[in-house]
């Protein structure tokens, strides 16, 4: 009876709409984080670091030690992550915050930095341990790819790369229909790059990883361009 009364007086509807709007507004800051495409650029630059690590590692002399190879990979990744972080800071500071405002997100929990340090230490121990196991031949990696049977690693690489992008588009909300075209291009490009003569996995993976990095970077640049076109700097 009360529901009927409220619906007919519009109060129930008003409260219902209000609840929906509250939920939408609480989600807006998260969407705002990538309004300028910096999130895509960070992903793109990090993946670019992985691709460069692969190419640099291939340039090393054949008799290089495993430690040297691991050092090259980590150095490339560290440089890429630093560049990605710097790029993000610069775009936010010089473009986004003067146009549509500054937002700082909460670090969940008081001991977030303790967790961050623990995660980094575990990652380092894992990387060093893995490198040691490969070097001491406790783990044997078969790098050869069969031309007829696709190696599961190839399929995982393609699925993970392609699946991450639509999840990202969905997180950003509407208004970015052109990104679906990027996804189509990503699928076609990766399929084309995957169908190649048999070679080892390291050699095979380099061009697709570079391709993925370039597409993420281009997608981020497109988002930034669209953002700059639709906003102008404001003085408070």
């Amino acid at each position: 009876m009360l529901k009927w009364l409220l619906t007919n007086t519009g109060l129930y509807c008003k409260l219902d709409c209000m609840n929906t709007e509250v939920l939408d507004y609480a989600k807006r800051p998260k969407r705002y984080q990538n309004i300028d495409g910096t999130g895509e650029m960070v992903v793109g630059l990090t993946v670019l670091g992985v691709a460069l690590a692969g190419y640099l590692e291939a340039l090393l002399p054949k008799n290089s030690t495993t430690w040297m190879r691991v050092a090259v990979v980590f150095a490339s990744l560290a440089v890429a992550v630093c560049i990605a972080y710097g790029t993000r800071r610069a775009i936010k500071g010089y473009i986004t915050w003067p146009r549509t405002g500054y937002v700082a997100f909460p670090r969940h929990g008081k001991s977030w930095w303790v967790k961050a340090i623990i995660v980094r230490i575990i990652a380092l121990i894992f990387a060093v341990g893995l490198a040691y196991l490969i070097k001491s031949r406790h783990i044997y990696l078969n790098w050869n790819l069969s031309p007829t049977e696709w190696n599961p690693r190839v399929i995982i690489l393609i699925v993970v790369s392609v699946a991450a992008y639509p999840i990202w588009i969905a997180r950003m909300g509407g208004g970015y229909r052109w990104k679906w075209l990027v996804l189509v291009f990503m699928v076609l490009g990766l399929t084309r790059l995957a169908i190649r003569a048999p070679e080892d996995f390291g050699q095979w993976a380099r061009p697709p990883v570079l391709f993925i990095a370039i597409l993420w970077l281009m997608s981020g640049a497109g988002t930034l361009y669209s953002y700059v076109r639709h906003t102008k700097p404001e003085i408070e």
């Binding site: 009360l2 109060l11 509250v22 507004y25 609480a26 405002g101 937002v103 700082a104 997100f105 408070e236």
Partner: protein, 98 residues
Amino acid sequence: MTAQLLAISELDRVIHEPGRLMIVALLSAVKECDFLYVLHETEMNKGNLSSHLARLEEAGYVEIEKTYRGKVPQTLLRLTRAGHKAFEGYRKGLKAAF
């Protein structure tokens, strides 16, 4: 009076106003943000937003800090502990009203 009507009548009037509700909902999801961001998201005019913020500050729900980013003046906004509590209470009250 039924429980539903009681729940509606007990909603926090300071937050219940749609303009202020937008502001509090936005601030609840961030650590801090500036005036420009809230202005951009709520699409209110500066005067309206200022008066709503003053009302929220008066109620002790929002903390306003005037600062500078380089040479540009910046007004930082934060939801206080009381603000977070009030917003949670409001949302619970709204749910109870359904």
